[in-house]
């Protein structure tokens, strides 16, 4: 749980759910903070890959994007190549690319499934990935064919740990 608290203070751009809580949390003592984060994690259920993608699952549909750390490391994204609807993807398939500062970074699917929608706003305005990586900058929606794959993905605390352990 301590990791969560650290992550909270380290995070430059937090998901709205957490941002809303921010002023409240400052007034709370340590025990209360712990409780707040437990409930927040349960609400968002966002999962992460070590390659800095996130997936937020509602029912059988997952929304995929890249993390705040990833957008910062990429720099200004100038082009987003996203997977087309109906594409069948296996977990960790190379399914597109984000271009920034003359570098094309491959995009991987965190889960297996069928793409049902891509974010056309991001294709039109790739800067949304930098401005709002967890909301307006989502990349594609996928219908999960193997929901059990989610179990092996990192939760928020695990992802923050991964960032720390890899020196970020």
């Amino acid at each position: 749980m301590a990791v969560c608290v650290n992550a909270f203070h380290k995070c430059l751009r937090l998901p709205t759910t957490l941002l809303k809580l921010r002023p409240v949390v400052h007034k709370l003592n340590a025990t209360q903070i712990t409780r707040t984060f437990c409930s927040t994690n349960a609400l968002t259920a966002r999962k992460y890959t070590e390659q800095h993608e996130w997936i937020d699952v509602q029912g059988k549909i997952g929304t995929v994007g890249v993390t705040d750390y990833a957008q910062g490391a990429l720099g200004d994204v100038v082009f987003a190549q996203l997977p087309d609807p109906d594409s069948e993807l296996n977990q960790m398939d190379d399914c597109g690319a984000l271009e920034s500062v003359k570098a094309a970074s491959e995009l991987y699917s965190p889960v297996s499934g069928t793409v049902i929608e891509k974010n056309k706003d991001v294709e039109e305005t790739p800067a949304l990935i930098n401005q709002s990586p967890y909301e307006k900058g989502w990349l594609f929606k996928i219908q999960l064919s193997k929901p059990e794959e989610l179990d092996a993905l990192l939760d928020e605390a695990g992802y923050e740990n991964h960032l720390k352990n890899t020196g970020h």
Partner: protein
């Protein structure tokens, strides 16, 4: 296990797939073990990552014997996909006969003069990395630096080039903010890269003695009213290193950069390896060659775009929407085009691939014959869109 002939006495990479450039003997050693392929003692992977037997980090140098852009792009891609760069780095150097290489997310109709390219026998290709359009000929040297994603460092590669060239030819090279190498405020090298899960590469051009008049001519596209969100090129004035240093040549730079790269390695038993991008040496490379020289990759991969006709007018009369290099829809605006013509135009163009077949259909079509003179310009633009030759 199948063992190919191996004539090298050196147990290192020098024996892997070396031929003398322009030359002679093929030193070649290859082991196939299930899905794993092993070239010399360089470990590569075709199904997973296989680490080296020891912990020594190595710097390897490959130089391509081919001057064909598609073969060299295929070899670069093959190395990226198959090598294990966890404990070794690779510098791959290659040159091409006249060609243009556009970035992965670029629009060739915006970047280059397709008609002039065809006329001058200059090939068009699309690479996998980001960035802008470059012109290559044998006076240009390409350097691809491969490493693990974790050790990827563009600036240090560029510094390495600057240092080694400075030490040999006393050239005052600097690195710009855009990570181009600059000499006397002129660009002599452009950079791009590709980053994957495990592996990454950074490649750059080095203008040594390039035909600059051809470069100017080819990289000057006609404005035909294309609206798109593809990656634009940033145009910069360029300079050949030869213009400042008359003794310098591509072959000498290969030796200098290669030896400098090997010298910086903790294991220095390696030599420059001159390699042929053949199926025998790199199993699976022929499929990659085909995909790089294919219309679908070069033109069809272009991000969707719209052609507004006539160009430069606030209210276009015709909008042509192109997706995957195919005319997806036609919008006749303002009812300025007579209905009988608009129907014929739609019939001629809709869902057609922008290629030689459509070019011939437009040439032989009678639609434009009876249209107003001002529409002859539309025909020209359509023909330009279809000037998409592939080798």
């Amino acid at each position: 296990m199948q063992t190919a002939q191996h004539k090298s006495t050196c147990p290192s990479v020098a024996g892997a797939m070396a031929t003398l450039r322009y030359g002679h003997t093929l030193f070649f050693r290859q082991f196939f073990q299930g899905n794993n392929t092993r070239l010399g003692n360089i470990n590569i992977n075709t199904s997973g990552i296989h680490s080296l037997n020891n912990n020594v980090s190595k710097n390897l140098v490959f130089v391509s014997n081919s001057t064909n852009i598609f073969e060299n792009l295929a070899l670069e891609d093959w190395l990226y996909k198959n090598f294990d760069f966890e404990k070794q780095s690779l510098l791959f150097m290659w040159s091409n006969t006249p060609c243009v290489v556009i970035g992965r997310h670029q629009n060739p109709w915006v970047e280059v003069n397709l008609k002039d390219m065809k006329k001058n026998g200059v090939l068009l290709s699309r690479r996998n990395s980001g960035g802008g359009t470059v012109y290559h000929d044998t006076g240009n040297l390409n350097c691809s630096f491969f490493s693990s994603r974790a050790r990827y460092n563009r600036r240090s590669n560029l510094e390495y080039i600057c240092q080694s060239l400075k030490s040999n030819w006393n050239l005052d090279l600097t690195i710009s903010q855009r990570e181009d190498i600059v000499l006397n405020n002129f660009k002599v090298s452009g950079t791009a890269s590709k980053l994957g899960h495990k592996n990454a590469y950074h490649h750059c051009t080095l203008l040594v003695d390039v035909d600059s008049s051809m470069l100017q001519k080819i990289l000057h596209a006609s404005q035909i009213g294309i609206k798109c969100n593809s990656t634009p090129s940033v145009r910069s004035p360029t300079l050949n290193l030869r213009a400042i240093c008359s003794q310098i040549s591509v072959d000498e730079i290969i030796q200098v950069l290669g030896n400098y790269f090997i010298k910086n390695s903790s294991s220095q038993c390696c030599d420059l390896n001159f390699v042929n991008p053949s199926e025998e040496n790199f199993p699976g490379i022929n499929v990659l060659k085909l995909s790089f020289s294919n219309w679908h990759w070069i033109y069809g991969k272009t991000p969707s775009f719209v052609v507004n006709w006539p160009f430069g007018y606030q209210k276009p009369e015709l909008q042509i929407v192109v997706q995957y290099g195919i005319i997806e829809s036609l919008h006749i605006l303002n009812n300025t085009i007579d209905r009988k013509y608009s129907e014929k135009l739609t019939e001629l163009l809709l869902h057609q691939k922008l290629d030689n077949n459509l070019y011939n259909s437009i040439i032989s079509s009678c639609v434009f014959k009876n249209m107003k003179d001002s529409y002859s310009n539309l025909k020209e633009i359509l023909l330009l869109l279809c000037s998409t030759s592939v080798s």
